[in-house]
C-alpha cells in the first residue's frame, strides 16, 4: 500500500510561520498579562484581600467622582471629609489632613488637636458655606459652623478653611483657630 505523503509548498511554509509568529506574540502577551494579574490580590481570595486593596479601590472611585466635580465642590468635599473624620471620632485621620506648618504652629501633637476639637466641632455640625476664593493653588473657604443638635442660631461661629489641592484627593488644609 502506497503511503500518502503531504507536500508543503514554499507558500504554505510562509503562511504557517507567519501565523505561528502572530500566535506566539499573542500567547506571550497573554502570559505576561496573566502573571501581572497573579501578583495582585483578587476579591475571590478573600483572606488575602488587604485593607490596602479596599482603600485603593475606594480611592479610585473617589478620584473618579472628584474628577467630575467643580473646584468649589471639591473643596467643600475635602472639608466635609475632614469634618466626617472628626464626627466619627477618627481624630488621627483628620489630624493627618492638616498642613504640617499649621500643625507645628497650633497643634504640635495629636493630643493638642484632640483637646481643641470639642471647643469648636460637635458630634454633628451644621455647616454653611458662605464664600470661596482661590489664591494660586490655595483655596480659602468662609464658613459658619454650628452645633446641629443642641446649638442655637446665636451660637454660630465663623471660620476660614484653607485648602491646598495637590491632586485629586491629595490635599492639605488648615483652619482659623477660634
Amino acid at each position: 500500500m502506497e503511503k500518502n505523503k503531504i507536500q508543503f509548498s514554499s507558500t504554505d511554509k510562509k503562511l504557517y510561520i507567519g501565523v505561528a509568529i502572530i500566535l506566539l506574540i499573542v500567547i506571550l502577551a497573554a502570559i505576561i498579562n496573566a502573571r501581572s494579574r497573579m501578583n495582585q490580590p483578587t476579591i475571590g481570595d478573600i483572606d488575602e484581600v488587604t485593607q490596602e486593596v479596599l482603600e485603593n479601590d475606594k480611592n479610585q472611585k473617589l478620584v473618579a467622582a472628584l474628577q467630575n466635580m467643580e473646584e468649589k465642590d471639591r473643596m467643600e468635599y475635602y472639608f466635609g471629609m475632614f469634618l466626617g473624620y472628626i464626627e466619627e471620632g477618627k481624630y488621627e485621620r483628620a489630624y493627618d489632613l492638616l498642613y504640617s506648618d499649621f500643625k507645628n504652629l497650633y497643634f504640635p501633637t495629636l493630643e493638642d488637636f484632640e483637646k481643641y476639637i470639642p471647643t469648636v466641632f460637635t458630634e454633628m455640625s451644621d455647616i454653611a458655606h458662605e464664600n470661596i476664593e482661590r489664591s494660586g493653588d490655595v483655596y480659602i473657604l468662609w464658613i459658619t459652623i454650628a452645633d446641629a443638635i443642641h446649638g442655637k442660631p446665636s451660637d454660630k461661629k465663623e471660620m476660614n478653611i484653607v485648602i491646598q489641592e495637590k491632586d485629586y484627593n491629595d490635599f492639605v488644609m488648615s483652619f482659623s483657630v477660634i
Binding site: E71, D101, G136, V162, K166
Partner: protein, 322 residues
C-alpha cells in the same frame, strides 16, 4: 482515513490561505489592543481654574513654554532673595532700564519699594496678565502664609504688582518691577517766538505713560501753559482721537526767559493698542500781566486773559519718531 482528513484540511488551508492569514492578523490586533486598553489607566491631570501662564486679558494667549519656564525660574530666584531680605541680589536681577526708570539707580529706593510692596509677605502667586509682542506682563500677589496660619486672627489680604519680562534677541529675559515696561527717546520739538517745547522721552509703565518735557519761555512776558482756568490745557491724543488729560500737572507757568523740565503723566494702559500720537498744550497764554489764580477775583483773571499778548496751542507729535 486519518491521512485523508489531513489532506482535506491542508487543501482547505491552501485554498483559503490569504483569508485565514487576514483573519488571524485581525484577531491578533484586536486581542492585543483589548489587552492594552484593559491595562491602560490614564492619569487625569488636576483640572483647576488656575492657569498661571494664560493671559487674564485674553485667555486665548498663552506664554510659550520656554518663556514661562524662564519666568518661573527668575521669579523663584528673585522672590527667594526678597523674602530672605537679600535686597541687593534682588536689585541686581532687574534690567538696567528698570533700575534707572523705576528707582533712579538708587538701591535705597528699591529697598523702600520692596518694604512697601512686599512687607512681611511669605508667599507669592503669579498670573500672566497681558502679553504684547515679546513683552510678558505678570501680576504677582504677595500674601501671608495663610495655609500655615489658617487665617487665624487675621483676614485674607494681599498686595500686588506687575512684573514685566521682555524677551531679548539672545533669548534671555529682562525683568522689571514697579510696573515699568519701556523707555523710549523721542526728542520732538515744537516752537514759536514765545515758547519752545521739546518732548524728550517717554517712560511707559503698565497703566500710565510719563513724558519728560522741556519748555522754554522765549518771551519777555509770562507764559501760562496750565493754571486750571481753561479746558484741555495739557492732553495726550491717541490714534483713536481719544484724549487723556495730564494727571499730575495743574499749574505750569513760565516766567520771562525761564526754562523748565517737567514729567507729565497720562493714563494709558500698555496693552491698549491705541497708541499716543501727540502731546498738546491746548491753551497757552502769553501775558504781560499775570496775577495767578489764588486770591484773585474772576474779573481780574478774565481781564488779564483778555489782555493776553498771544493765545495759541502747541501740538508736539510723538508717534512718528517712534
Amino acid at each position: 482515513m486519518f491521512t485523508n482528513v489531513r489532506i482535506k484540511v491542508l487543501q482547505f488551508l491552501r485554498k483559503n490561505a490569504k483569508v485565514i492569514f487576514l483573519v488571524v492578523c485581525i484577531w491578533a490586533v484586536v486581542f492585543l489592543v483589548n489587552l492594552f486598553l484593559k491595562n491602560y489607566k490614564p492619569k487625569m491631570d488636576l483640572q483647576t481654574t488656575y492657569e498661571p501662564h494664560t493671559s487674564v486679558m485674553d485667555d486665548t494667549k498663552k506664554v510659550p513654554q520656554k518663556v514661562s519656564n524662564q519666568v518661573e525660574e527668575m521669579l523663584d530666584t528673585y522672590m527667594k532673595y526678597v523674602l530672605e531680605g537679600n535686597v541687593e541680589s534682588a536689585y541686581e536681577m532687574l534690567s538696567e532700564e528698570c533700575k534707572e526708570n523705576s528707582f533712579e539707580n538708587k538701591k535705597d529706593a528699591f529697598t523702600t519699594y520692596i518694604l512697601n510692596k512686599v512687607g512681611g509677605a511669605k508667599r507669592y502667586v503669579i498670573q500672566d496678565y497681558s502679553n504684547k509682542g515679546n513683552t510678558y506682563i505678570y501680576q504677582v500677589k504677595y500674601t501671608d502664609d495663610f495655609l500655615a496660619t489658617g487665617l487665624t486672627n487675621t483676614t485674607y489680604s494681599f498686595t500686588e504688582e506687575k512684573i514685566v519680562f521682555k524677551k531679548q534677541k539672545d533669548g534671555t529675559l529682562n525683568m522689571a518691577v514697579g510696573s515699568f515696561v519701556d523707555y523710549e527717546e523721542i526728542h520732538n520739538v515744537a516752537e514759536n517766538q514765545y515758547l519752545k517745547v521739546e518732548v524728550q522721552a517717554v517712560q511707559k509703565f503698565y497703566s500710565y505713560e510719563m513724558y519728560t518735557v522741556k519748555m522754554t519761555n522765549r518771551s519777555d512776558d509770562t507764559v501760562v501753559i496750565a493754571d486750571g482756568q481753561e479746558d484741555n490745557e495739557i492732553f495726550l491724543t491717541l490714534e483713536s482721537k481719544d484724549v487723556r488729560s495730564a494727571m499730575n500737572v495743574t499749574n505750569l507757568v513760565l516766567k520771562p526767559g525761564e526754562s523748565t523740565m517737567q514729567k507729565m503723566q497720562f493714563q494709558k494702559f500698555y496693552d491698549n493698542e491705541d497708541e499716543a500720537v501727540s502731546l498738546t498744550f491746548g491753551s497757552v497764554r502769553v501775558m504781560e500781566q499775570y496775577s495767578g489764580t489764588e486770591n484773585v477775583s474772576e474779573e481780574v483773571r478774565q481781564a488779564e486773559i483778555q489782555n493776553a499778548v498771544a493765545k495759541f496751542s502747541v501740538n508736539i507729535p510723538i508717534k512718528d519718531k517712534h
